[in-house]
């Protein structure tokens, strides 16, 4: 991922979700959610368990099909498309807790990230080297099975793979889950760099609202499938009542 890559992709793009309704079977988990993630910014999606945060990301990336509403990637509506199509349109989703395929090697996991490419072989090799540069531990283990990686290394691997898809929007679901504090800090640093230096639009779902608000530009709070608050991060962090009621701190 690089600034040039973003420019080649058509520049930074904002993501707007309008009136999204989605759920599972008879249950509606998202009840008309509207969120705007500014281009090249970090938008945090917060709320308690069961609020609809993961469902929101899944509906955006196509893992579940929205029942109503639109998902606009720089004015282009992708709601209802398949995940394969949405990834090609430029939205990459790093799901919570899973993402590494342990039966494959590190290198194979990375190659999967480039499956949506049409580029030449040499370009792919160069792109992969770039990720190895960014994540040295992955380079050391490139031929080993992904099952041998630690939690933090796995998180790096899934992010690297997502970046290889050359997205314009990156959806991150609980990237800090199960990570030691030092590693979590590294991941958060990376997230900031991705948006500041490379112009990626980041949507960050985080249970740990304090950490998320520390790096986000804008925040959205969900409760029972609805948006109950939407403001810039500093305002949200300062709103003590809101924090206590919905965010647990």
């Amino acid at each position: 991922m690089s600034a040039e890559a973003t420019a080649a992709n058509g520049g930074s793009a904002g993501l707007t979700v309008e009136g999204l309704v989605a759920g599972y079977g008879g249950v509606t988990a998202l009840d008309g959610v509207t969120v705007t993630a500014a281009a090249a910014g970090i938008t945090a999606v917060l709320g308690a368990n069961g609020a609809g945060k993961t469902t929101l990301l899944r509906a955006v990336s196509g893992m579940i099909r929205p029942r109503r509403g639109r998902v606009l990637l720089a004015d282009h509506n992708v709601a209802g498309q398949s995940p394969e199509q949405i990834v090609r349109a430029g939205i990459a989703h790093v799901p919570e807790g899973q993402g590494v395929i342990p039966e494959l090697t590190v290198e194979e996991n990375l190659r999967i990230g480039m499956m949506s490419w049409r580029g030449k072989q040499s370009a792919r090799a160069a792109a992969m080297e770039e990720e190895y540069e960014r994540f040295k531990p992955l380079a050391e283990r490139r031929r080993k099975l992904a099952s041998t990686l630690s939690g933090g290394e796995r998180q790096m691997l899934v992010i690297a793979r997502a970046l290889l898809a050359r997205p314009r929007v990156l959806l991150l679901d609980e990237p800090s889950l199960g990570l030691a504090p030092r590693v979590m800090a590294q991941v958060m640093d990376l997230v900031v760099r991705l948006s500041r230096e490379y112009g990626l639009t980041i949507v960050l779902v985080e249970q740990n609202a304090r950490v998320a608000l520390a790096i986000a530009d804008h925040g959205v709070v969900l409760n029972l499938g609805r948006v109950v608050a939407s403001a810039d991060a500093a305002t949200l962090a300062a709103d003590v009542a809101l924090r206590h009621h919905y965010l647990g701190f």
Binding site: G62, Q98, G99, L104, E108, R111, A165
Partner: protein, 292 residues
């Protein structure tokens, strides 16, 4: 002693046939978590197509190749039309659908090709080979059979391990969600998997039919044994399929040779039960847990 050698070699030949069917079942199981009960029926149909081509063109190899191509097409077509709609529905539905396909194929064969037993030619001589003066119990064609299955297995293994297409298939089999989120068109991959399985079945069909005669139900028994081999080896393991096939082939050869040929299926059942009691997921069951 000579007898033992003959039974062993003969068992290896049939074992490779079972291995081919087992491999096709493993391929489909790993990719789609389905049991394809129509596998034997597809193989029977492609063998009929082969014999028609051979009659018309007088060329064995034309028939051989066309059978393999027909296997690819039949496999892909089955997945696209009939199996895909059952995705996401109760698991047994796809079993019944493939059973329906099997019955359909057998009926169609009866209609288009007639029900009488037909003989199918072998690619090479079927006279027994001798080493020194000792008859080995296997022929040149048998050697070809083993070589053909081995070669196809190796080619597929290379395809899976070292090509991008193979990586797509493995990724889709291990974690379809992650694969889709990476832009892999999993649906297409599944169709290719079924096509390759059809090819393997077609190969098994043309290789075994010279020994069994060709009629609409001719592949039923082979399918059951191929399925048994896959279960013995572990449905997630291609290596298991080959090992299971060989074990079964050789084992049954001994039973049929030294004991009573009516006892073969009982012995097979015994072997299967013993293996499954020790390893309920087959010999080569990995530590792989199903991701919920």
């Amino acid at each position: 002693m000579v007898e033992f050698l003959q039974f062993t070699l003969g068992g290896i030949v049939f074992g490779m046939i079972y291995a081919a069917i087992a491999l096709s079942l493993v391929l489909i199981w790993r990719g789609t978590r389905l049991l394809n009960f129509a596998q034997g029926g597809m193989a029977m149909l492609t063998t009929y197509i082969a014999i028609e081509v051979i009659y018309k063109t007088h060329s064995y190899w034309a028939g051989f190749v066309i059978a393999l191509v027909a296997g690819l097409i039949l496999g892909a077509a089955s997945e696209l039309t009939v199996v895909r709609p059952t995705a996401g529905k109760p698991e047994l539905n796809s079993v019944i659908v493939t059973i329906g396909l099997l019955i359909l194929f057998e009926g169609l064969a009866g209609i288009f090709f007639g029900g009488q037993y037909r003989s199918f030619p072998a690619a090479f001589s079927v006279t027994g080979l001798k080493v020194g003066g000792t008859p080995l119990g296997v022929s040149r064609f048998d050697v070809f059979t083993v070589a053909a299955v081995l070669a196809t297995t190796l080619i597929l293994a290379v395809l899976f391990r070292y090509t991008t297409a193979g990586l797509r298939m493995r990724a889709a089999a291990f974690n379809a969600t992650v694969a889709r989120l990476s832009g892999i068109r999993v649906a297409r991959v599944l169709t290719v998997g079924w096509a390759l399985a059809g090819l393997l079945g077609a190969l098994a069909g043309v290789l075994v039919t010279p020994s069994t005669f060709l009629y609409p139900n001719s592949m039923d028994a082979i399918f059951v044994l191929g399925f048994t081999a896959a279960v013995i080896g572990g449905l997630d393991s291609p290596v298991g399929a080959v090992v299971g096939g060989l074990l079964l082939g050789v084992g049954l050869s001994y039973v049929g040779g030294y004991l009573n040929s009516d006892l073969t299926s009982l012995v097979a059942l015994g072997v299967l039960v013993v293996v499954l009691m020790i390893r309920p997921n087959g010999l080569f069951a990995g530590a792989r847990m199903r991701r919920v």
